[in-house]
């Protein structure tokens, strides 16, 4: 039996539902020693900003039970260097590239999006809204539904490419998801890292120089699953699950709840072969369940999604 892994996110057709998550896959060119990058459904590139950003002082990472905290500080080469040095190489690769981007002001988001709009190798834009808004006292765009609406709407007006909004788990995700949808997002990605902190009791100091970082990895997976469930129930546009996926089962959880696709991040650090194993695992699962297409998995549990949350 021929197994079909093809899916669509809006107008974009993908070989399979596996994306490499932003910040965990560089500029898409770093995996050639491990596997052929064209096997994945898509690659979300390292977050880009208008100007190059040097990132935070070390220490930038700290490991926690089944997870890690990072405060890289959105280090990136900037949009101009990306177009000059990386984009020409990406144009030759047969997979879908999604440009993750961010700004510290609404105007910056708009400017980067407009530049990305003209780059042929970029098939969709993924807005990272887990960023402090320096025009409004540093409050994170992503936690305030009004700000989410404002920034997404401005970007939406200026580009025609599919616009995905990557939601932060801070704040009320149903409200921010709805805001992003109403402002014109084509798809939502849930979730970004969870704000976290660790203390070195011997040195009586923070483990990470930035004090606060973002938690990722298997530790956050169940939280991400619940949030994807919430977002799928809230908006009619495609949702992409992200958070702690390290095997096929983790990804399929998102699909069953109605996510159209899923992303793999931190797992790439400790198993660079994870995408190969996960794609293989999804095929095995479909065979075992006697299903022909992964589309039959997507949203299969949606009927069961209904019903009220209760206290635990």
């Amino acid at each position: 039996m021929e197994i079909d892994l093809k899916i669509e996110v809006g107008k974009i057709e993908l070989k399979n539902p596996l994306f490499l998550a932003s910040g965990c896959a560089g500029y898409g060119l770093e995996f050639e020693d491990f596997f052929d990058i064209s096997i994945v459904g898509g690659v979300c590139l390292k977050g880009l900003s208008l100007e190059e950003s040097v990132g935070n002082e070390p220490s930038r990472i700290w490991e926690t039970p089944s997870g890690m905290i990072n405060a890289i500080g959105l280090q990136n080469i900037g949009i101009k260097n990306f177009l000059k040095d990386k984009a020409p190489l990406l144009r030759k690769i047969n997979t879908i590239f999604i440009a993750n981007f961010f700004g510290h002001k609404i105007e910056e988001y708009v400017k980067v999006a407009k530049i990305l709009e003209d780059e042929e190798c970029i098939k969709a834009l993924e807005m990272n809204i887990s960023c402090p808004n320096i025009s409004e006292g540093g409050i994170h765009f992503g936690v305030d539904p009004l700000l989410v609406h404002k920034v997404v709407k401005e970007v939406r007006k200026s580009v025609t490419k599919p616009l995905w909004v990557k939601l932060t788990p801070s704040g009320n995700i149903k409200e921010t998801a709805r805001s992003a949808y109403e402002a014109g997002a084509d798809a939502l990605v849930a979730i970004n890292t969870i704000p976290a902190m660790a203390v070195d009791v011997e040195k009586m100091d923070f483990r990470i120089s930035n004090k606060v970082g973002g938690l990722s990895g298997p530790a956050i997976h169940p939280i991400a699953v619940k949030m994807v469930y919430d977002v799928v129930g809230e908006v009619p546009i495609p949702v992409i699950g992200c958070g702690g996926v390290e095997n096929a089962e983790n990804g399929i959880e998102f699909l069953l709840l109605g996510a159209r696709a899923f992303q793999v991040g931190t797992a790439l650090f400790y198993n660079p072969n994870a995408p190969v194993e996960i794609i293989h695992g999804i095929k095995d699962y479909l065979k075992r369940k006697k299903l022909k297409s992964v589309k039959e998995v997507i949203g299969r549990m949606k009927a069961k999604n209904k019903g009220k949350d209760s206290c635990s």
Binding site: C24, G55, S59, I61, E63, P65, S66, N70, L268, Y270
Partner: protein, 257 residues
């Protein structure tokens, strides 16, 4: 670089240390390179640990690992026949290729910085270069690879802080003597030691290289977690990756803390 599954072919324990040999179909490495190693213990600890290559022979690769915490403890407890995964060889290497036979080469190591220097010393001896090896430790029982280094037949000097072996004091005490004459210096060990070595040798004709450590998640350049500040041009500082542009850096470009 490859991501591979290995089998432990032998594991020899010396106190806090363990010499682990792995069998597998790995790519040839150079001295100063390392592997990210993780056993089959699931999610805790989650990330692999960076470990320098001690030595390499056909289909066998050796590491010397010190138990300092959760991940290294699991690595030193691995038994013959157990499986683990590793990505490597990673990073740049000690730039030894242009060294000429008559040049003075000093290797300075402390603690877990000694294993990669042993690999370098062995490679140099193979090229007909005879380096001077200076090893420092707190006390005699913490000295590493003493017999193996002696076995290479080179000029070997030891310092211990308590005087229980070799000269009493720290490595720089001996290193000082070569301040004017050294052509090449390669150092690996605790940060403070590297900084002092750099202060002695970062001038004149001497080329001094240090192998730095930083916490790592991926080890192959994508997470940007292992940043170290480097002066790329006069007055222009930038973060580079210890795992990719390093771990070996020219001591003159490192922005010391």
């Amino acid at each position: 670089m490859r991501y591979l599954h290995f089998e432990v072919s032998s594991s020899k324990r010396y106190g806090d240390f363990c010499e682990v040999s792995l069998k597998g179909n790995f790519e040839p490495s150079l001295p100063g390179q390392f592997y990210m190693l993780k056993g089959e213990w699931g999610s805790h600890p989650l990330l692999p640990r960076p470990i320098s290559i001690l030595d390499e022979e056909k289909n066998e690769i050796k590491f010397l690992i010190k138990d300092v915490g959760i991940g290294s403890k699991k690595l030193v407890e691995l038994k013959k026949g157990e499986k683990l995964s590793g990505t490597g060889p990673l990073g740049n290497h000690f730039p030894f290729e242009r060294i000429k036979k008559n040049e003075e080469v000093i290797l300075i190591g402390g603690g877990v910085g000694v294993p990669p220097l042993f690999y370098l010393a062995k490679t140099l001896v193979g090229k007909g270069v005879s380096p001077i090896f200076i090893e420092g430790a707190k006390t005699k029982s913490e000295l590493l690879l003493v017999d193996a280094i002696k076995g290479l037949g080179l000029n070997f000097e030891i310092t211990t802080e308590d005087g229980s072996a070799g000269k009493k004091g720290v490595v720089t005490l001996i290193a000082e003597k070569f301040r004017k004459s050294a052509n090449y210096v390669f150092a690996c060990g605790p940060y403070g030691m590297l900084k002092s070595v750099s202060e002695i040798f970062s001038y004149g004709k001497c080329r001094c290289f240090v192998s730095l450590e930083e916490r790592m998640a991926c080890g192959y350049g994508i997470c940007l977690g292992c940043a170290v500040k480097i002066e790329e041009e006069k007055g222009k500082e930038r973060f580079q990756r210890v795992c990719k542009e390093g771990p070996v850096f020219d001591s003159r470009v490192v922005v010391w803390k």
